[in-house]
């Protein structure tokens, strides 16, 4: 089949989101099942694209409108994008199944549309090969995320959403100024061509532009000075949406940061920007871990833990070495699995027991043993115990950090990991060794998803080689810019 059909990845969620108002008559249940069916279809397309890219080893270049790259917009579905589009689709499918049962706030039809468009935005951000198109998809992701954060329509949700909106608005303005500067000095918006021409750029313009872009994306990627929105939004959003935020919305922002950073490698002032990013990432890890320690609400605690892991990924991606990028991508995959597991479990408990405060989790091992088991696996993995998946990626990140000469950063991250172990062990203690309770029935579909994810955690922990080889391919897709330029069939334009 023709590679251009990969554009269905974008077309299908759009088409089905626009179709929702016309099938409003199906009723709530119908729309929820519709959502699950569409995400399953999307998973199918993503799996096809994944198989295509990894079996031929060549990226799929989708040219919108049939115009060759610098003239038209292209989607670049390389090793990284194929892997992550699949993850986005799978996690969306799980959350769609979860929302069949969990989503009760009216109006459901609008929830379905926003859900699909959030998935679309993340897919587009990961797949696009044009810097302004990246901005458009970022806004799609961000605006649907604003709406979904406030979806519960409580005061807290509106407050979190407003915080997100104001930071996001500043971020997107900064990003756009950065794009304007880069366009002004190079005359093109295509990422491959920017990478090609970056060497001739005026270093001051490049530095200012790149720093503005990094700041703009840092809002989406939850890096330190601009991540004040994240814990609030994670806590206040509907449980299904929190899973999506943590599993792929952040990843899309991180990927965009890394991609743009490595595209501008040839710029003279590149290393200054890298140092800035390393500092931001390390601060993210430390600040978030200490904030997590004093949380009373489990969902908020895991949100902080998620932010600190994201900081670790950003640290790895900003090292500027092949090993760092590979380890970062590996950690992204592991983090997506583990945090999807944790947030799904916590959300399930939150709905079943009416809240996510620490007291509700006491005695969970007696009340909901399957969920508690899955949550334990997730927590142990998040701490980084050997034989669970995060251990491997964390070790690789730390080694890469030492190799790149950031020993102070590695030391700080190790210290923060100890803090992480403290609060996760406290959480496990509360689940198994405190409190009493009656055994409750656990839903079949949710338990299956949770156990599947837990099994995935253990399987990757014992046999990390397959995912590691995928991550290496995906990492070199980001790091090896020369190959990226060669893969995009650039057309000669002008002088």
């Amino acid at each position: 089949m023709n590679g251009q059909y990969a554009s269905l990845l974008i077309a299908l969620p759009l088409l089905s989101a626009f179709f929702v108002p016309l099938i409003k008559g199906l009723g709530e249940r119908g729309i929820k099942y519709y959502l699950a069916v569409i995400t399953a279809l999307q998973t199918g397309i993503a799996a096809w694209v994944f198989q295509q890219v990894y079996s031929t080893g060549k990226p799929i270049i989708v040219m919108a409108g049939g115009w060759k790259p610098p003239v038209g917009i292209n989607l670049y579905i390389g090793h990284f994008a194929a892997l992550f589009v699949l993850i986005v689709a799978v996690v969306s499918f799980f959350t769609a199944v979860f929302s069949i049962w969990s989503m009760k706030v009216q109006p459901i039809d609008k929830y379905a549309m926003l859900f699909l468009l959030l998935m679309l935005g993340a897919t587009g951000m990961i797949a696009t090969g044009d810097i302004f198109n990246l901005f458009v998809f970022m806004e799609i992701t961000a605006i649907s995320a604003y709406a979904l954060t406030a979806y519960n329509k409580t005061g807290e949700a509106a407050e979190a959403s407003l915080k997100y909106m104001i930071l996001g608005g500043i971020g997107s303005s900064f990003f756009l100024i950065g794009v304007a500067l880069i366009y002004g000095s190079l005359g093109t918006l295509n990422m491959a061509q920017i990478a090609q021409l970056a060497g001739n750029m005026n270093p001051t313009v490049a530095q200012v532009g790149l720093a503005l872009i990094v700041f703009g994306l840092a809002v989406e990627a939850e890096l330190f000075p601009l991540n004040a929105w994240a814990p609030d939004a994670y806590q206040a959003a509907p449980h299904a949406i929190t899973v999506m935020f943590s599993a792929f919305v952040v990843k899309a922002g991180l990927y965009a940061t890394a991609r743009l950073l490595y595209l501008m490698q040839a710029v003279g002032s590149w290393h200054d920007v890298l140092k800035l990013l390393v500092a931001m990432a390390t601060l993210t890890v430390v600040v978030a871990e200490f904030a997590a320690l004093r949380q009373k609400d489990v969902k908020r605690m895991i949100a902080y833990s998620s932010i600190s892991q994201v900081g670790m990924i950003a640290f790895a991606l900003a090292l500027g070495s092949q090993a760092g990028v590979d380890a970062g991508v590996f950690h992204m995959v592991n983090h997506a699995v583990v945090k999807a597991l944790l947030f799904l479990g916590v959300g399930y408990v939150g709905i079943k027991l009416g809240g996510t405060a620490m007291e509700n989790f006491q005695g969970l091992g007696k009340r909901m043993p399957l969920t508690a088991f899955a949550l334990t696996i997730g927590s142990l993995a998040a701490v980084g115990i050997p034989l669970f998946n995060i251990f491997w990626s964390k070790v690789r990140i730390l080694i890469a950090g030492v190799e790149a000469g950031y020993t102070w950063g590695v030391a700080l991250i190790l210290g923060a990991s100890v803090v992480e172990a403290v609060y996760y062990l406290r959480f496990i203690h509360a689940m198994w060794f405190a409190g009493e309770g009656e055994r409750m029935r656990e839903g079949l579909a949710i338990s299956l998803i949770l156990l599947l994810l837990a099994a995935l955690v253990i399987v990757i922990g014992i046999y990390p080689d397959y995912i590691w080889s995928l991550a290496q391919k995906a990492g070199s897709d980001i790091f090896n810019v020369g190959q990226y330029i060669k893969n995009v069939p650039l057309m000669e334009v002008g002088a």
């Binding site: 605006i143 406030a150 807290e156 407050e159 997107s172 303005s173 366009y183 814990p231 904030a291």
Partner: protein, 114 residues
Amino acid sequence: MISVYYFGAISLILIGLYAVLVKKNVLKMLIGLSIMETGVNLLLVSIGYISGRSAPILSEGIGPNQAVDPIPQALVLTAIVIGVATTAMALSVAIILYGKYGTLNVEEIRRLRG
């Protein structure tokens, strides 16, 4: 010497940023955000301007060498619409906030913290 258009654009961005940073009223912050977006749009269009050329509508004997750059203008069209979309979303959230808390002061609507 910096051009007057650049000066205007940077001033709008800074004034908007000032409002977002310092003001405590939600609607004021959103007005600041909106002004900031206008500034960014002005910046983009002035980057695409070429002295002495006319609008990129190629009729009436205007050739390709007598028109300004069309791309920034296309980008700004997109950016304006995105800006109004964000503003509308933000305002509806502000309406909910006012309904729940009866105030628009960000200091008084801090429930989530720590």
